[in-house]
Symmetry: C2
Subunit: 136 residues, 2 copies
Amino acid sequence: MDTDSHRSHADLLATYRRSCPSRTVIEVLANKWSLYVLAALRRSPGPLRFSQLRRLLDGVTQKMLTQTLRALERDGLVARTVYPTVPPRVEYSLTDLGHAAGELTTAIADWAVDHASRVHAARAAFDARPEEPSPL
Amino acid sequence: MDTDSHRSHADLLATYRRSCPSRTVIEVLANKWSLYVLAALRRSPGPLRFSQLRRLLDGVTQKMLTQTLRALERDGLVARTVYPTVPPRVEYSLTDLGHAAGELTTAIADWAVDHASRVHAARAAFDARPEEPSPL
DNA sequence: CTGTATCCAAGTCGATACTG
DNA sequence: CAGTATCGACTTGGATACAG
């Protein structure tokens, strides 16, 4: 994947600057729950209700889920539809923008599943190594 | 991208379980500095020194960079090479595993750059909307 | 140069209680 | 059902000082 072939050297450096507009976008995407919410919505055949997402994402609290969904909605990645019924019904789905982002986060989630054993093995090896690797 | 075509429904649900081994892998990848470090190393033609990474990643503190590099090294994504010179010289590069992960995080970073304006527009629209959208 | 150690502020996150 | 509000524990992250 040579995704940078059309980017200049200066462009690449600018990517990491604090002033780069992408910085704040990265900060929304680069966290566990955003990644999972986008992946879950992308994998779902249709919209998901708040409670469905909560059940799906094991360990997420109501607060974190609300917070995450709001941030994604604010950024135009997730669409929030409220049905004025009683009890209220709220559905979440991906916008076109969110769908594209969801592909990327789903790829990360899939990669993590596929390589978890290798990562865990490396982790164990690292943790098992002696304090002083060079006893001379 | 139908990356899930080979995954069963049960597999997909298991992905979000707290007990899924991929959870801890995601937690390492899903943060700003890990994402940037992997992207920077992947884009670089060769290994990068600690100070080079620090200059490149605008805003990263020494502490966060060290912490991030350690976590990635522990997970077998980054290789750390120490040259016993004086002053010391330490180079970081991607392992095969890290290279694969780097492709994914680079894709996220690129996407963020390319769509930052759309996201920021959505954000501005969201923030500008009235408190009570339905005054009836 | 490449770290480690420490202090402290700020933010994250979970648990709980409550509302329309 | 789908939130909001609040409190407190815990974690994160920055600044600074220091060491091999």
